[in-house]
Amino acid sequence: MASKIKVKVKLKGDVAEVKSLMLHPMETGSRKDPDSGATIPVHHITELTFLNNGETVMAVHCSTAVSRDPFFSFSFTGAKAGDTLEVRWVDNKGESDSVETVLG
């Protein structure tokens, strides 16, 4: 698997409806491993950013209360076909992922 982020964008005039889903365990730090009984350390996306042609159109700050394999949707204006939308996140361990998609 390349990126673990998926994005779907619907253009309606100059409004882009963005839906994004990403694979991430979003561990709360209070869950125990069912086999070993050991506490699973906290591991969650902290910041998620959507940039259209390099400009931030959405920044999301997340706690561990965001569900596993997070989903977000929002809309922004001023979009047009051919724009490049980038999604990227960083988590509390400093890991990151990103993906780019061209609006069409």
Partner: protein, 279 residues
């Protein structure tokens, strides 16, 4: 005057009694199964049963539809496609092991294999394809096997489930064994599958809303939000048997394969819509 009429009636009754066991073949079972749910839930179209509890519970359905607008199983379908296309070390591939190159064929599984005299599920066929080609078999609950199954279901979406019971006494015996399993009470809680998913379909077990068995196998494998991953139909069987406090059978055991055979036959004519998303 009365006498011949009475005799005729008696004969008719006798004929009816004698023909009853003969009548209850798989096709009659299936029709009765569909008719039962049609009567229980007259407002639910038969096609809707492939959506499980969401066919019966409008509030849960809304939340499910929200997840379905961007379902987490899409990653597994993608992974499954990549795995499906990867050639084995010997140059062979999954496509060589299935009809139509493995695309759009989910609806024919499980199949009865007359040569082997047993029910072959899609997962079993996938693993046998691997071992025949010199690859090691995947664990039944491995992400890889479930992803392959998810991809193959995905390519079969919208096809009508079409499980066959060939003219072979062993095939009928496998079907009957699955049927018997389905209707037998087991475990410390003394429940049969049918107690929850026929008799009590639509009712609550604590906070869980019970789904109808019609359509049950259509949407597997299923992404469980609770687990954050996809599970196979047999893993669900395992969970149900454990939940009635019986010692569960292993995935792909003869018991579960026969159960899948019966259960899927009951859903013949409904659409494949796997993979699915459940809580």
């Amino acid at each position: 005057m009365l006498r011949p009429a009475f005799c005729r009636l008696l004969l008719l009754c006798l004929a009816a009694i004698l023909s009853l066991p003969a009548l209850a073949g798989p096709e009659e079972d299936r029709e009765a199964f569909r008719a039962y749910f049609s009567q229980r839930f007259p407002d639910v179209p038969l096609d809707e049963y492939v959506n499980g509890i969401y066919a019966l519970d409008p509030k849960a359905r809304e939340q499910w539809l929200d997840i379905e607008q961007f379902p987490p199983y899409e990653f597994a379908v993608e992974q499954g496609e990549v795995l499906f296309r990867q050639a084995f070390a010997n140059g062979g591939g999954y496509a060589d092991c299935f009809d139509n190159g493995g695309i759009g064929i989910r609806q024919h599984y499980p199949r009865f294999d007359p040569a082997l005299g047993e029910v072959v599920t899609l997962e079993l066929a996938l693993n046998r394809c691997r071992t025949r080609n010199g690859e090691s078999a995947y664990a039944w609950d491995s992400d890889e096997l479930v992803a392959l199954s998810a991809y193959m279901a995905w390519t079969s979406r919208g096809k009508a489930i079409d499980v066959e019971i060939p003219d072979d006494p062993n095939a009928l015996a496998a079907y009957e064994a699955g049927k018997r399993f389905y209707y037998s009470k087991r475990g410390q809680l003394n429940f049969a599958c049918s107690d929850c998913h026929v008799t009590s379909a639509g009712a609550y077990v604590r906070a869980d809303h019970l789904s109808a068995s019609l359509g049950h196998p259509s949407h597997f494998p299923v992404y469980r939000s609770k687990l954050g991953r996809l599970i196979s139909l047999h893993s669900r069987f395992y969970g149900c048997v454990r939940d009635v406090r019986a010692r569960p059978f292993e995935e792909q055991s003869e018991e579960y394969r026969n159960l899948e055979y019966f259960l899927t036959y009951m859903s013949n004519g409904l659409m494949v819509n796997g993979p699915g998303a459940r809580k």
